[in-house]
């Protein structure tokens, strides 16, 4: 069967089922690890800088990234324990491997600084400036007892899976990190 080549412009706007999609990236940020968050933020800022609309949906450990630094989460005993053992904010999260009680985080930050890589707070501010939309997941906020007031100011009100799926359906690219 002969293959038909479409010009770039057409493949960007129409899916195989004929449904139109936006030039948009939707991301589920599940991980709260420093290295994975860094990947998520770099892709988000890069996509926004390339003219894409970007939505990040934060669930479970990913919520740690959008928490204001120095804030404590949890209401009951388990919730508070979770808040203490797993601090939020971009400076408190550690790498997914070799964290070694914070030593890994310190080492990575130092190495990144030496090489001149943008820090997580810098990347975050850049994403906000470029108009990246950030949505927290209501269900995991309830489970982990996280108050929406503890999120950074740019974060939108909490949503559920249907809201993410709506965003994802009209996107031409979706990622789970």
């Amino acid at each position: 069967m002969a293959t038909v080549e479409f010009p770039m412009e057409n493949t960007m706007t129409v899916q195989s089922n004929g449904k139109a999609t936006k030039n948009k990236l939707s991301m589920v940020v599940f991980s709260g690890d420093m290295d994975k968050i860094m990947a998520a933020l770099i892709i988000a800022t890069g996509a926004a800088a390339s003219g894409m609309e970007v939505t990040m949906f934060f669930t479970f450990w990913g919520l740690k990234m959008i928490q204001k630094p120095g804030t404590m989460t949890g209401k009951g005993l388990f919730g508070r324990m979770l808040g203490v053992m797993n601090r939020g904010g971009l400076d408190a999260i550690g790498p997914s491997r070799l964290n070694m009680g914070g030593m890994g985080r310190w080492m990575f930050k130092l190495m990144m600084k030496q090489k001149g890589v943008a820090t997580l707070p810098e990347l975050y501010d850049m994403a906000v400036e470029l108009g990246v939309k950030m949505l927290p997941c209501q269900m995991s906020m309830d489970v982990m007892e996280i108050d929406p007031m503890l999120f950074r100011d740019n974060v939108e009100p909490p949503v559920g899976v249907a809201a993410f799926l709506e965003e994802a359906t009209e996107s031409k690219m979706t990622l789970f990190i």
Binding site: I42, T45, G46, A48, A49, S50, G51, K115, G116, V117, A118, L123, M126, L130
Partner: protein, 79 residues
Amino acid sequence: MSSQTATIVLDLKGLLCPMPIVKMAKAIKEVEIGDTIEAYATDPGVMADMPAWCRTTGNELVTLEKLDKQFHFVVRRLK
């Protein structure tokens, strides 16, 4: 080289991914269509990233060259 004609000259030296394209995306909004931006970078990643960014955003990469220890390129805003 083309410093006389470029509208903005960007210094991207010392910046690593994704900052070169982020700065370029910001700068391109500040010039008129048809104008050029000249930039210098030290990250070897721009050799692949800048052409890719130009293709996805529909702008023209006029030149891209490796100088001694840095990379020099010119981008023209097309839309």
